[in-house]
């Protein structure tokens, strides 16, 4: 318990970095995931194929591998550098890039399953009144699809938040998991520190589960 108190401030500042990562990744992956879902239900075969390929590759690749590729491949070898002055900032954005790319595949699939809950007649009616594909997706299909998949999207977000503990693979070695390992080098494995971190995640993640559950009931499309 002493160890948790002694190293608490450092661990907490690491945890805040996980939260900042989560917010950014949540934003980017929702945007990209929505675009991907639109591609996968579009009438253009090329877009559908591109969306499907992207999702199948990213969703079936281990996350640490995606991050290591961003860091060692994209950044070190191919020269994608977000910050030459502060390497850790570079790693931060590489982690955001890699995890957003990865999570957006899951967002896309959740959203696509939502699209499948929208009755065919809705799309046909939208076409019948003269809406283009993008108009019908934006005004008719996705609003209903999103409401159907709020709970699954919550699960995707929760998984993403927990996944931020592997960003050290992208060289961002100051998140809570990395701080924990560094602490363990001095203290040895400390169960109280483990439990403290678990509780910190619970405090953030549990309300997300409750809120998305409540929201999904509240916004359910009555059919």
């Amino acid at each position: 318990m002493d160890e948790l108190i002694q190293y608490g401030p450092e661990l907490f500042s690491g945890f805040l970095k996980n939260l900042l990562l989560s917010v950014l990744i949540g934003f980017f992956s929702l945007v990209v995931g929505t675009i991907l879902a639109a591609m996968r239900v579009s009438p253009t075969p090329v877009l559908r194929a591109a969306g499907a390929t992207y999702v199948n590759v990213l969703r079936n690749t281990p996350l640490t591998l995606v991050l290591a590729f961003c860091y060692l491949g994209l950044s070190d070898t191919l020269g994608l550098i977000f910050s030459t002055e502060v390497p850790l900032t570079n790693s931060f954005w590489l982690a955001v890039l890699g995890m957003s790319a990865y999570t957006s595949a899951f967002v896309c699939e959740a959203l696509r399953s939502g699209v499948n809950t929208v009755p065919m007649g809705q799309a046909e009616a939208a076409r019948a009144i003269g809406l283009t594909f993008f108009q019908s997706v934006r005004l008719i299909i996705f609003p209903q699809a999103f409401r159907a998949v709020i709970a699954p999207l919550g699960s995707v977000l929760i998984a993403m938040i927990k996944n931020t503990t592997v960003v050290a693979a992208a060289g961002y070695t100051v998140d809570v998991a990395a701080v924990m390992r560094e602490t363990f080098d001095t203290t040895g494995v400390s169960i109280p520190i483990f439990i403290g971190i678990v509780l910190a995640f619970l405090v953030v993640v549990l309300p997300i589960g409750w809120y998305t559950g409540w929201l999904s009931r509240r916004l359910a499309v009555a059919r």
């Binding site: 060692l72 850790l88 790693s91 961002y172 390992r181 001095t186």
Partner: protein, 285 residues
């Protein structure tokens, strides 16, 4: 309900098996008696540090720590051969492995520190390592530790060596504004160093020299040490009898020239400056 009960039975059985497993090793009062009586011992070393403790495939690990362990164990047994079981002892698990009896003794770049003393009894130190800096062999502009100002140095996950550069005392040492580059471990650091993605790797010289020995001529050590890391022999807390015997063995290892010979064997070609006399013993507590 039925499922839950079955689960509980399994859990109980597992716990009982665990207890039984622990009980087996406890028939000797301490590690020294176990070595002398049973002629067997479980030794924890690093498995991922070249020239210190590196395990390749199914063979026993090899390196400086491993050879010191073999020498000390043989001395503990009074010169007789002892069956050694090797176990991996990663940095964060060392205290736990000793406490629960998974290993009897640890030789794994285990620095004697005040923070660890309440949990571990340390024999030795058997060598004093120093934090040093490694750069590419063709590098210019970094010739001493203070040249690291504004340079890109490696922050390996799980190691706080970087703090000695970036933080002022008491946590750190030099307090230089260096740029930290993250990496999963020191092999990744060295890989990035060779690719030009960072300027220097800094940690214990024995660890650095191990990487340097893997690819001779590619890297150079600055030989500008700025800390003392007393590598000790980890023993279960309170095992003074074994600790005293370990200290005797270490003193003998330095006297009869074995220590020098082992350092030559593992680090002879790296250009690292190593000590010629035994480090002062810490005393057993």
């Amino acid at each position: 309900m039925q499922i839950r009960r079955t689960g509980a039975v399994f859990a109980m059985a597992a716990m009982a098996a665990g207890l039984a497993a622990c009980g087996g090793g406890d028939s000797y009062a301490n590690t020294l008696e176990k070595v002398k009586g049973a002629k067997e011992i479980t030794v924890g070393t690093k498995w991922d540090q070249p020239s210190i403790g590196l395990k390749k495939g199914t063979a026993d690990p090899e390196g400086f720590d491993v050879d010191v362990a073999k020498y000390v164990v043989k001395e503990l047994a009074g010169g007789q051969d002892v069956k050694i079981t090797w176990k991996e002892a990663p940095s964060s698990n060392r205290e736990a492995l000793l406490q629960n009896g998974t290993v009897d003794i640890i030789f794994a770049t285990y620095s004697i520190t005040e923070a660890r003393k309440p949990k571990v009894t340390f024999g030795g130190p058997y060598i004093i390592a120093h934090q040093d800096t490694m750069v590419r062999a063709d590098a210019t502009g970094i010739s001493k530790a203070t040249d690291l100002k504004d340079k890109r140095i490696c922050q390996a996950q799980g190691s706080n060596s970087y703090k000695r550069i970036t933080d002022p005392p008491p946590d750190g040492k030099l307090g230089l504004p260096a740029k930290l580059v993250g990496a999963s471990n020191y092999s990744e650091c060295v890989q990035k160093l060779s690719g030009g993605n960072l300027d220097a790797v800094t940690t214990d010289n024995l660890i650095l020299a191990g990487f340097s020995a893997q690819e001779p001529g590619k890297y150079k050590l600055l030989n500008d040490p700025f800390t003392d890391e007393k590598y000790g022999v980890g023993l279960k807390k309170g095992d003074k009898a074994t600790c005293e015997a370990v200290n005797t063995a270490i003193a003998k290892m330095w006297q009869d020239g074995t220590a020098k010979q082992l350092l030559e064997k593992w680090y002879g070609k790296t250009g690292m400056e190593f000590p010629t006399s035994a480090p002062p013993a810490e005393g057993c507590a």
